[in-house]
């Protein structure tokens, strides 16, 4: 026996392993992942990538208080889940992807593959990848979505968990040369004791354009681990929008790497936080080819809870003329909430433009006075300013009105609810 257990598992880790074992009948395929989960446990604050989201502790608290651990609940399904974020989308049930009636030029198939957790795209993480490990241990099978070359897919492709199924899914999407596509990751549903998970891999061909939307609106008792990995071809455009508007414990990772010259990356996100939430967005952006550009901005509205943003931009030695900018702006509307931001630049090339900035503060008093001096009452003026702060992220995406309206609609619903 070559495996040495370095420390005993915490009760929560042991419970998580039991939940994984109970998560299906195909345990053989998952056994390596379950074994690794048993062996390595969950990351904690001394693992740099998890410093602000101590998963061992947070899952521990969660499983410690959960009752009925042996009864994993399926995703709750309310009526509005049935209508896609953007009307007219092709909806893919990730539990049965082959049942989708795919549009021309798009092939959607099921597979028996599990996420590959053996290494992490984040060099600040453990040697293995936690999100993928959980995803594989709970048996998520990779659904494959392939967009052929030179194909403009008119309607967004919405990827969602199977109805009433286990809340773990995996996707491998490829978009062929010079094609265009929009993907929506729809993350909804209630809380099973173990965290739900979603791992996606997106490969964008040369000259292709992809908009990827992560619409996370889990129920208030749910834990969720998400990861999007993106490979961006030469002269390709990748736009990302992340909306976190729900969940109790959420970690969303985005790991992007350029795979050719001239690629353009535009990442925008809005994190809406209220009491009792812990929401973490961790991104890595690797520029490995010359002449690539990236702008990354996250805006956070905090009425309570804990928010985390970790953004890493790495520029390789050969990636000259990289132009990369990152910002994280937080509006703290309550003294009960907090937000931790950790922007990082790691630059090995000598002819680049890179910058990062993080701000946190209350509503601008001058702006508030100006609006009120025109007769707009304080609550309405504040709401207008908060909405403006986050709506700018949607505007900067520069996407068609139907998509922008759907996103601002989601944001407005949260703001109306919280004010």
């Amino acid at each position: 026996m070559s495996v040495t257990e370095l420390r005993p598992r915490t009760p929560a880790e042991a419970a998580l392993v039991s939940l994984a074992e109970a998560a299906g009948t195909d345990e053989d395929a998952r056994s390596a992942a379950i074994e690794a989960l048993r062996r390595e446990g969950l990351p904690h604050r001394r693992i740099e990538a998890w410093h602000y989201t101590d998963l061992r502790n947070l899952i521990g608290r969660r499983l410690g208080k959960a009752t009925g651990l042996d009864a994993p609940a399926g995703s709750a399904c309310d009526d509005d889940v049935l209508s896609p974020l953007v009307a007219g989308s092709t909806v893919v049930d990730l539990e049965a992807p082959e049942d989708t009636s795919a549009p021309d030029g798009v092939t959607i198939t099921a597979s028996n593959d599990l996420a590959d957790w053996h290494e992490s795209p984040n060099h600040l993480d453990r040697p293995l990848d936690t999100v993928r490990l959980v995803n594989a241990a709970f048996g998520a099978r990779v659904a494959k979505v392939a967009v052929a070359a030179n194909t403009a897919v008119a309607a967004p492709i919405e990827l969602r968990d199977g109805i009433g199924a286990r809340p773990h899914a995996a996707v491998a999407a490829t978009v062929g040369t010079a094609s265009k596509a929009v993907f929506v990751e729809r993350i909804e549903g209630g809380g099973s004791p173990a965290p739900a998970s979603r791992v996606s891999h997106l490969t964008i061909g040369d000259g292709a354009t992809v908009l990827w939307i992560i619409d996370q609106a889990k129920d208030s008792d749910a834990a969720y681990l998400g990861q999007l990995n993106v490979n961006i071809g030469a002269n390709a455009t990748f736009k990302l929008f992340v909306l976190n508007a729900g969940g109790s414990l959420v970690r969303q990772e985005v790991h992007a790497v350029t795979a050719g010259e001239g690629s353009e990356i535009l990442m925008r996100g809005v994190n809406l936080l209220q009491k009792d939430q812990h929401v973490d967005v961790t991104t890595t952006l690797r520029h490995t080819f010359p002449h690539t550009t990236a702008t990354e901005t996250f805006r956070n509205v905090v009425t309570g809870g804990h928010g985390v943003f970790q953004g890493m931009i790495k520029v390789a030695k050969d990636a000259q003329k990289t132009d990369a900018k990152m910002a994280c702006n937080t509006l703290l509307l309550s003294e009960d909430g907090d937000f931790s931001a950790k922007p990082e630049l790691e630059i090995f090339a000598d002819d680049v433009q890179c910058g990062h900035g993080a701000t946190a503060g209350a509503i601008n008093a001058d702006h508030l006075f100006y609006l009120m001096s025109r007769g707009i009452p304080a609550p309405q003026a504040k709401a207008l300013l908060v909405k403006a702060f986050v709506d700018e992220m949607v505007e900067e995406l520069e996407v068609e009105a139907a998509i922008a309206d759907a996103l601002t609609g989601k944001i407005d619903a949260w703001l109306d609810h919280s004010h």
Binding site: H367, F369, Y370, L371, R374, G375, P377, A388
Partner: protein, 251 residues
């Protein structure tokens, strides 16, 4: 219209006293100019009239149409008809100009118990006023004041004023940053609003603006007090002789 009685005010944070007993009356339909050297308290007075909470009134009162407004917040004052045209209008990214105008107008109407204005009528009014003030329709599609030049911002202030139809217009150095053409457009806009029911408090450094907006009264503010009042000729005297003569007389 407006009666300022022995008004003392200081900066709320640090306690520096800026107004030291201002007495001033503005009649219905009157255009009163307030002139004074830098640091005399002109802008502070305009902010206090609009209800900015960075300043604390320690003594005296502001009576507007028979009622003290000291306890009213800026939005309530605006709904009751007080308008401040800012010296430096703020840029507010993300707030669309038209949304802002409509929200402000309807909030005021609602506060006064009037029906909200429907969009077609609102659009008609804005377009008419914008044309008069030579404001490009494209400008109105931008976020509030974002990317506007100094002159465009001042014209946008006058557009807001004309749309909201206030009773008391406080204009804080509206001429600053305006070239002569823009000054004329802005002044025409203001003059078009002059009426028996509307009063103006025009704050300025220079007499130049008062060639275009001819005042009924001129008051000189110095070290937080009105030290001299007169008719429009007082502005010309100041232009010719500077403030030192009057300050000397008052001392």
């Amino acid at each position: 219209m407006l009666e300022i009685k022995n008004l003392h005010a200081r900066v709320a944070d640090e306690g520096t006293e800026i107004l030291r007993g201002v007495n001033l009356t503005v009649q219905d339909g009157e255009v009163a100019a307030i002139m004074g050297p830098n640091g005399s308290g002109k802008s502070t007075l305009s902010y206090i009239l609009a209800g900015r909470d960075d300043y604390e009134v320690t003594e005296g009162d502001i009576v507007y149409n028979g009622e003290s407004i000291l306890e009213m917040d800026p939005a309530e004052r605006a709904a009751s008809g007080v308008f401040l045209a800012f010296q430096y209008p703020l840029e507010i990214p993300g707030v669309a100009t038209m949304t802002f105008l409509k929200t402000a107008l309807n909030a005021q109407r609602k506060a006064r118990g009037e029906a909200e204005l429907m969009t077609p009528e609102f659009m008609r009014r804005v377009k008419t006023l914008a044309a008069e003030l030579k404001i490009d329709a494209e400008m109105l599609k931008r976020p509030l004041n974002v990317g506007f030049s100094g002159g465009e911002k001042k014209r946008a202030e006058i557009l807001q004023m004309a749309l909201l139809e206030p009773k008391l217009c406080v204009m804080d150095e509206t001429d600053s940053g305006l070239d002569i053409d823009a000054l004329k457009i802005v002044s025409d806009g203001v003059n078009a609003l002059r009426s028996e029911q509307r009063s103006f408090l025009v704050i300025t450094h220079y007499q130049r603006l008062l060639d275009y907006i001819v005042p009924d009264k001129v008051h000189v503010l110095y070290k937080g007090r009105i030290i001299k009042s007169g008719d429009k000729d007082l502005a010309l005297t100041l232009e010719n002789e500077g403030y030192s003569q009057i300050i000397g007389e008052a001392a």
